[in-house]
């Protein structure tokens, strides 16, 4: 964390115009170019962070941490995530068993020191028409009768965090960007997806074609890759949004090791207004190893077989 970024963040937080003046802002970093002239975004990037998507209630009105507050917050969250206590009985132990030896949730807040990934609306909350966090899959609470009773990630169909839009999750927070003339491709570690983004101004596929990950089209605005994604299906349900969700993502290399990622979600049937989140992605080491989710999904058979065994046991009583 450089002092300059903290100063800049504080100025933005104070809402002063001073942050925009040249003496407070170093010359913006310009990414190198690929041979065909695109800003070069290639490499492996991670969006891992413990900064929450939405601002927690106890931080209401506070858009940025001070550096000291950030350290304390990190200490608290990492402590909670690594809970490895044995004082709560067997069930509590089990619930706490997935600590950071299993997960890769990160240990740091975002370098901007924002208290939420949502940067607009200014309160850091998703402007939902229907209040409360998105509900679980129908049937999620009961012993699963079939795979449809479990969530999309448990079925290895889609991770709501892997995108689009891309947000940190408890593991596999890595992405590799590959560029060719006319294309930017994002290799997503979670369930091995390749998001192929044409940047040749072709129109979207017709509305009759719906996809879990939508249909992306990109273009360059200066040094920023802008990707518009439409044609989602009605089962993707990102933050409860419907099939008409319109997603705009912006990728800008703001430092040699930083890819600033912003996304704006619009769906008037679900949100009272468009909302925007920002995640500075950091360069990381590879290689990304294949995540064979469905191929190794022994848990689904286990959950279903377990539920059937319980039913059999109950029936024999």
């Amino acid at each position: 964390m450089s002092g300059r970024v903290i100063v800049l963040a504080t100025l933005i937080a104070a809402g002063t115009a001073a942050a925009q003046t040249p003496q407070n802002q170093a010359r913006p970093y310009t990414a190198p170019r690929t041979p065909d002239g695109q800003p070069d975004l290639q490499g492996i990037w991670t969006n891992v962070t413990i900064t929450p998507l939405e601002r927690p209630a106890d931080l209401a009105g506070k858009a940025f941490f001070t550096p000291a507050e950030a350290l304390q917050y990190e200490k608290d969250v990492v402590g909670r995530n690594n809970a490895d206590r044995r004082d709560g009985g067997a069930q509590a132990d089990l619930n706490r068993a997935y600590n950071d030896a299993w997960y890769d949730r990160g240990t740091k807040v975002v370098e901007t020191l924002r208290t939420s990934l949502v940067i607009d609306p200014p309160d850091g909350r998703i402007p939902r028409k229907q209040q409360g966090a998105p509900g679980p899959t129908p049937g999620f609470g009961r012993p699963p009768e079939g795979p449809e009773d479990r969530s999309l990630p448990e079925r290895c169909i889609l991770w709501p965090t892997a995108g689009p839009p891309m947000m940190p999750s408890f593991y596999n927070n890595n992405y590799q960007i590959v560029q060719a003339p006319g294309y930017v491709v994002i290799l997503v570690e979670m369930i091995h997806d390749a998001r192929i983004i044409p940047i040749d101004a072709r129109p979207h596929v017709n509305t009759g074609i719906r996809q879990w990950m939508g249909d992306p089209r990109g273009h360059w605005e200066g040094n920023t890759l802008v990707v518009e994604t439409t044609n989602f299906n009605d089962k993707t349900r990102f933050q409860r949004a419907g099939a008409n969700m319109h997603l705009v993502e912006r990728f800008t290399r703001t430092a040699p090791d930083t890819l600033t990622y912003e996304f704006t979600v619009d769906d008037p049937s679900t949100f009272t207004r468009p909302w925007t989140a920002q995640i500075p992605m950091k360069r990381t080491e590879g290689p990304i190893i294949e995540y064979a989710c469905n191929e190794g999904n022994y848990a689904m058979a286990g959950m279903l077989a377990g539920a059937r065994a319980d039913e059999k046991k109950a029936a024999s009583k």
Binding site: T34, P35, D36, Q42, E145, G146, P147, E148, R155, C156, I157, L158, Q176, V178, Q179, A180, P181, G182, Y183, V185, L187, I191, H192, D193, A194, I196, P198, R202, V205, I209, Q211, W212, M213, P287, I288, I289, E290, A292, N294, E295, M300, A301, L304, A305, A307, R308, E311
Partner: protein
């Protein structure tokens, strides 16, 4: 082979005879072995002068049914009628014979007997190499100035071909570890680290986790790329063997890889036996 040359009316008799003679001089099987490396690729070039293989490609072959010669046959589900029948096809194996060890052949027969339920394709598992190449789905090559990505429509599978210093396979995977280099105008990809769980086709042909595949991609025209793969696995085959097929560039202006996230289509097959059954009276 020489008969067709007589159709080239522009060739003088002498020239035709010479070409014919030259072709006859090439030992059997050597043509495919040596031609790609020396061949000058057609089609566009990258800024570094390498052949530009970018685009959406697809095999037109029945090899996914059976990489060897096969006659038409009924399919496994009579309800589908002729829709589910198996088309005849000329195989992609050079010489048509696969040099299995007795144990390798026994496993192939066992696989075939368990089709379709045990075919990884039915389960929406990643197809592995070489099967990914000739699945009845397109795939896209994204050739950067560094590495080359191959993204297959089937099951959203993909693999990054490392064009830098070769790396060892970190762990066995479905799609393997690919190291690529250029031999002249031919892209040569060395694939190891395959987990031995993928099949080569719906006929149950297979390789183990010792499988080593060396692929050669050579663009012979703007629209066609020749694909050749040498398949080696001492635990399953008595000697290396080859497959060979053309890949065609999808010419539609709007050609793109669409989503085929097939897990939900396979769930009944994978988990049906564990589902809650309606109460019987």
């Amino acid at each position: 082979m020489c008969k067709s040359l007589t159709l080239l009316s522009t060739l003088s008799t002498a020239a035709a005879a010479f070409v014919c003679f030259s072709l006859l001089m090439i030992p059997h099987g050597a043509q495919a072995q040596t031609a790609p490396a020396k061949a000058v690729a057609k089609g566009p070039r990258m800024s570094d002068g390498k052949p530009n293989l970018n685009g959406v490609w697809q095999a037109i072959t029945t090899a996914n049914w059976d990489i060897q010669d096969h006659s038409a046959a009924p399919g496994p589900m009579w309800q589908l009628g002729a829709i589910g029948a198996i088309p005849a096809g000329q195989g992609i194996v050079e010489g048509n014979e696969i040099p299995y060890t007795p144990a390798g052949l026994a496993k192939k027969k066992q696989n075939k007997a368990s089709w379709p339920a045990e075919d990884p394709e039915a389960k929406c598992y990643m197809p592995g190499i070489p099967r990914a190449t000739y699945m009845p789905f397109p795939f896209q090559i994204i050739q950067s100035n560094k590495d080359i990505l191959m993204a297959y429509e089937y099951a959203s599978s993909n693999r990054l071909i490392n064009m830098g210093k070769p790396v060892e396979a970190g762990s066995d995977t479905w799609m393997g570890t690919s190291n690529g280099h250029w031999e002249g105008d031919t892209l040569v990809v060395d694939v190891t680290g395959l987990n031995g769980l993928a099949w080569f086709d719906r006929a149950g042909n297979w390789g183990s986790d010792k499988l080593h595949v060396v692929e050669r991609y050579n663009r012979t025209s703007n629209d066609v790329m020749n694909y050749e793969a040498t398949i080696e696995d001492p635990s399953v085959f008595t000697k290396p063997w080859k497959i060979n097929l053309p890949l065609y560039k999808r010419a539609e202006k709007n050609a793109q890889i669409l989503e085929f996230k097939c897990v939900e289509f396979a769930e009944e097959l994978l988990y049906g036996k564990y589902k809650k059954q309606p109460a019987t009276k």
